[in-house]
């Protein structure tokens, strides 16, 4: 199986990295970029075939390890 976990900063939380990149993009002449938010994408290869169980476990891993629920949201895709 392949899973993708996308972790992004919560909307109301400061994303200094996104802000720095937005300015840099303006510096490259692309002023039309109004906001930038930067997250992580984690691609996993998983053995086994029990989708339901894997999903449940992955949910836990995403919450406890891959993201920081205080400041980030996550999304899981499993196929």
């Amino acid at each position: 199986m392949k899973a993708t976990v996308i972790v992004t900063p919560k909307k109301s939380v400061l994303d200094p990295q996104g802000e720095a990149v937005r300015k840099a993009i303006h510096g490259l002449g692309m002023d039309c970029v109004e906001s930038v938010r930067i997250g992580r994408i984690i691609e996993l290869e998983i053995s086994g075939s029990d989708l339901v169980k894997t999903k449940a476990k992955l949910e836990e891993v995403a919450k406890d390890l891959l993201s920081n629920p205080v400041i980030e949201d996550y999304q899981i895709e499993l196929k």
């Binding site: 720095a20 990149v21 840099a24 930067i38």
Partner: protein, 226 residues
Amino acid sequence: MKFVVLQFPGSNCDFDCFRAIDEVLQQPVRMAWHKDTHIEADETIIVPGGFSYGDYLRCGAIARFSPIMKSVKAAAERGQKVIGICNGFQILCEAGLLPGALVRNRKMHFICEHVTLRVESQETAFTTHYKKGQLLNIPIAHGEGCYVAQPDVLADLKANNQIIFRYADAHGQTSDAANPNGALENIAGICNKQRNVLGLMPHPERACEKLLGSTDGLPLFQSLLN
């Protein structure tokens, strides 16, 4: 020999480099703000360590677009000497002045400590005061100093004798245990093909005074005076 130290927003070893040149090496040196573009034809350029642009996105990724980097590129092409230390090394790689890239240390942590380096080549303007195989005590301080490169790039580096410093143990062995960050083949510093651009993760400017624990970094700067 005249030196110029670049200053990016977030550079924090700029004054350390300045002081090493000014106070210890006692050579003329000036600072250049990243928005400036002027570099004298007889200046050796130091791209200092720190966290240019907060190391956001990738270390050095944003700094390489600073106006002064065009002048640095031009100067390098003219054969002027350029040293990138730590974040400076990262910037030079991002700017394409040196091959490869620097990624997160393998244990993910920032590491600040003295390490042992082995001099791999004396054949650059930066290393004439060292001997090949000499062991140096120089500190590192980085979170993303793991050097990586594609196999063909590595082959090139070796073929052209561009690997200048490797992490080694006290006996000069480039063992895995002596590799602080997981760098490919223990690589700590490389130069370009023309041998006038040097990048290294360790901080030679922090190893220029006995009081601070080592003077093994000083010959690097002294080599440039020849």
